[in-house]
Amino acid sequence: MIIKSLDPRVSRAQIDGDAAFEHPLQEMDQFETFEVFAQKKRGTHHEHVGSLHAPNPEMALLFAKEQYGRRGVCVNMWVARTADIFATDYDDEDIFATVPEKQYREAGVYKVVDRITKYKEEQAKQA
């Protein structure tokens, strides 16, 4: 049945609504996926912002710009094939279990040293 719509573009296109579902997409009909990383400011790190389908890295960048860079500030983008990302297994999530308890390993002390150094410099300047 031809799809009728209030949108004149849809009616003009004479789309056969039944035919549209006769050939569902097969696995290889889809392009592969890419992961997108965006950088907000030079010098900061890129952050993962999402993924998309594309036939190759060049077009993935092209699509990434509009899909993930058109709103908000962005100065640079990376894309990588999803297949090229190595990841831990959720079954091994317990390898991270004790991480929040290791305050003794945190380098908090360095912040104090920074403050002491700054204080010394200020004193030296005043002297």
Binding site: R9, H53, P55, N56, M59, L62, K65, E66, Q67
Partner: protein
């Protein structure tokens, strides 16, 4: 101060090209060949409409009517757009080739205008140059991928290029004020722009494995800048302005 008719005519044709092509390209929204491209092409269509608004705003500051009235209340014979932009979308290869040919010209026009003697236009040109650079990048990428894709994609792109080229040459229809625009340092002139455009598109067309139609076949399609249009423009305007005309005074 003079009426600056030469600048007004120049702004009208630029803005009308952008508005009409922006509308045409937006007709693909929801119909794109894949989701990602649908988003990209629609977003670029919105960019074009935003650029036309900036130019209509300058016209408004020069004493013309407000941008909404200019955009929505004129008939086809009051529009200065080229025949290229008013053509119906047809198939995607045509829309891509039109986008490639038009956006190269648009980019080079904005680039030349970054040095204009008319400050409001220089400001707009500097603002949008980056945006249009992406449009060119998008057009080039698609042309090269599909031009060198498979036999069907190559044939489609070549046919569209052949069918679109004379329409694209119509972008450079000289204005009655051409000499004045150049003398006043407002713009480099359509002839110079066309030369730059040919220099820019030729290597990309070659890389795409496509052939530029032979110069002996070039017959620029003129008339649009003078308000003479194809049968396709008025129905586009009727559709584009349908909601606005229901209540022109409505606050949005």
């Amino acid at each position: 101060m003079s009426e600056q008719l030469h600048i007004k005519e120049f702004l009208y044709k630029m803005a009308d090209d952008l508005l009409i092509l922006g509308h045409r390209n937006s007709e693909w929204t929801g119909f794109g060949p894949l989701l990602e491209e649908d988003i990209a092409f629609s977003s670029m269509a919105q960019d074009k409409i935003g650029q036309s608004l900036a130019l209509y705003t300058i016209l408004n500051q020069m004493g013309e009517q407000d941008p909404d009235t200019i955009a929505f209340m004129r008939n086809a014979n009051q529009f200065h757009c080229s025949h290229l932009v008013e053509q119906p979308n047809g198939e995607y290869d045509f829309s891509l080739v039109r986008h490639f040919l038009y956006d190269h010209a648009d980019y080079l026009r904005f680039e030349a205008l970054t040095n204009t003697n008319f400050p409001p236009l220089g400001k707009v040109a500097r603002k949008f140059k980056g945006e249009v650079k992406y449009h060119v990048f998008h057009g080039d990428t698609f042309l090269m991928k599909l031009g060198t894709g498979n036999e069907e994609s190559h044939t489609r792109m070549q046919n569209s290029l052949n069918n679109t080229f004379n329409l694209a040459l119509g972008i450079f229809e000289p204005s009655p004020y051409e000499d004045q625009l150049v003398a006043d340092g407002v713009f480099i002139g359509e002839k110079a722009l066309k030369e730059r455009w040919l220099e820019a598109i030729s290597p990309v067309i070659q890389k795409a494995g496509l052939t530029l139609p032979a110069e002996s076949t070039w017959q620029p399609v003129y008339g649009g800048r003078k308000g003479q249009h194809t049968e396709y423009l008025q129905p586009l305007l009727d559709e584009m302005t349908e909601v606005f005309r229901i209540d022109p005074g409505a606050e949005w």
